[in-house]
Symmetry: C2
Subunit: 326 residues, 2 copies
DNA sequence: GGTCACGGAGACAACGTTATCACCCACACC
DNA sequence: GGTGTGGGTGATAACGTTGTCTCCGTGACC
């Protein structure tokens, strides 16, 4: 910029004014400066600018795994919202690991993003308090923050699970198994609660031995189904707590004679093309991402009202796999 | 940092030294500074640091669409490579639009990323020349750069298509249709070339009326299949040029009586669970992303050898849909 | 004709780091 | 006892912007 100023024979500040399109510069000056910029191939150094201004125009997004379809839809939504606000988006995957989540989030904050959207893996986010204190906006998506007050955009997991299990109960099922994510994952707990509530509302006893929660590994799923389908009172239906589990169950059931009814939480591509087509409780990742980003930008825009939680609704998409009668 | 220095009663530079773990600081000093940092909750300002050092420790990734499974696998790979090198990753979707790609890439460069991995949408990348001149490393992934010299990591699209079409020819098919991405998309052209080469190698005449290239919209696919399946010599097999087209074709075929054999370029989740399970030519997005990132970091590490192009191999995964005899 | 307002321009200090250099002291060497 | 030598430390100047303040005209107003 110094070079430009010299080359145009004007003051440094005048160049700055032209670059920023500030008023009160005579058109002759503008011309000269423009020409000099052209000649020297000058480009404003964003880093320096933001050092001075105190903002980076970047927001961070911490996900469980970028490659997960739920995450990618969420990313897409946050990205387009960010872009619309003139912000760039940094992304990173926590791999469902609380330490990694923390490292990543703090790395973003150290890089001085203006805000972060976090799909938390851990349940203690006190580490973020100093950052929030320092002015970083933080919005939690899909799962709430642990041990700090913060904005969150969630899905009505319990209600969704009730919807899915209710659908199975309507078909006459009374022995309904549940396979969900490991202990400690917020959404999984909420969905299990919905499963239980639906059963109890229908006066079907809740049987803990029909619930399997653990890592979504083909091995784990196989054991769980073995157990549920064995014995004098095998399950006639299964409610899965996430789409990876749903797919794993479908894979496993393909190897078996007995095919229980199935309803899964979270939709996935080609669910309608399988036979039978898979009934799911759909949550809208795009809306989730968009909403979270909107809250974030409201905060960045100066909204200092107290933290709020938004809960999005789910909807049942009956496709057939839930309608196999008991 | 000034505050820390005052609080600890030491010089500014000493704080800097402690923060950066530089040698030649007495342990007493380290203690005092550490304490002061603790007391004041000091955190190094990355922006200022990088302004001084000239690097941002950020790389950008420009994709067609973050939400596409191919892209997400690629993202994941680039991300983990970046993270391993201590870099943060910025992502953005071009939406297969050359203008958007350019805007996004330049926005990354303006944000002073140290390098970019670009899955190009356009075919003219001269706009990147000044940036590369200015020291930004650029690696193209999946498709080559247009009108500039740059590193590229590609897939052997032509060979892959030959593989897929060859598989159909082996099953006795002679009327094989091809549905691929619109004109102007590099990979689509290459795959169509492979399709043609395979036919000619088998002395089957290449019939342009059996080729449909356009946007992956259900409507377009329907028309294409209508045409291919009508007339006195309908196709007995279809080779699709990308996974979105493959899925669209499967969706469409589900509504028809006549079911031609099908081989698709690019694998997708649940391809093995459909009936018939879908035979595909698989390309490894993770390897592609990892390789591109590795080349990028070699460049950032000071490798100034001339631009090179790496081509990755594909492999055929026979699952059944290609084995329907003519 | 003096003052006032205002448009146009530049000097200078900041933003928060790091690099360079100079300094001081202690110890070993001739 | 001078003279290196080298570890430990701090002043100071960058890095490339933008905010603030000042300055200089020019025309309008009393």
């Amino acid at each position: 910029m110094n070079d430009v100023a010299r080359h145009a024979g004007v003051g440094l500040k005048t160049v700055s004014r032209v670059v920023n399109g500030e008023p009160r510069v005579s058109s002759a000056m503008v011309q000269r400066v423009r020409q000099a910029i052209e000649d020297l191939g000058f480009r404003r150094h964003e880093g320096a600018r933001l050092l001075r201004r105190g903002r980076t125009a970047c927001v961070g997004l911490v996900l469980e795994d970028v490659a997960d379809p739920f995450s990618s839809a969420l990313t897409r939504a946050v990205e387009s919202e960010a872009w619309a606000n003139g912000f760039l988006l940094l992304t990173g995957s926590s791999g469902e690991d609380a330490v990694q989540e923390r490292e990543l989030t703090l790395a973003f904050c150290a890089g001085r993003v203006d805000g972060v959207v976090v799909v938390p893996a851990g349940d203690d986010h006190r580490y973020l308090a100093p950052e929030i204190e320092a002015g970083v906006a933080a919005v939690f998506a899909d799962r709430p923050a642990g041990r700090i007050e913060a904005d969150a955009v969630l899905v009505d997991n319990t209600g969704g699970a009730r919807l899915g299990v209710g659908h199975l109960l309507e078909q006459g099922h009374r022995r309904i198994g549940h396979i969900g994510d490991a202990e400690g994952i917020f959404t999984a707990g909420e969905r299990q609660r919905g499963y239980r509530e639906a059963l109890e509302a229908a006066e079907v006893p809740y049987d803990p031995s029909l619930v399997a929660r653990g890592p979504v590994e083909q091995e784990f799923i196989r054991h769980a189904l073995d157990r549920m389908l064995a014995g004098p009172e095998p399950v006639t239906a299964v409610f899965t707590g996430n789409n990876r589990a749903t797919v794993a169950v479908i894979r496993d059931l393909a190897t078996r004679e007995r095919r229980p009814a199935l309803v899964g939480f979270d939709d996935f591509e080609l669910a309608d093309m399988l036979s039978p087509a898979v009934t799911v409780v759909a949550q809208d990742a795009a809306v989730l991402g968009r909403t979270a980003a909107q809250v974030l930008f409201q905060r960045l825009g100066g909204d200092v009202s107290s933290a709020r939680t938004i809960e999005l609704q789910t909807r049942l998409i009956p496709r057939g796999s839930g309608e196999i009668p008991a």
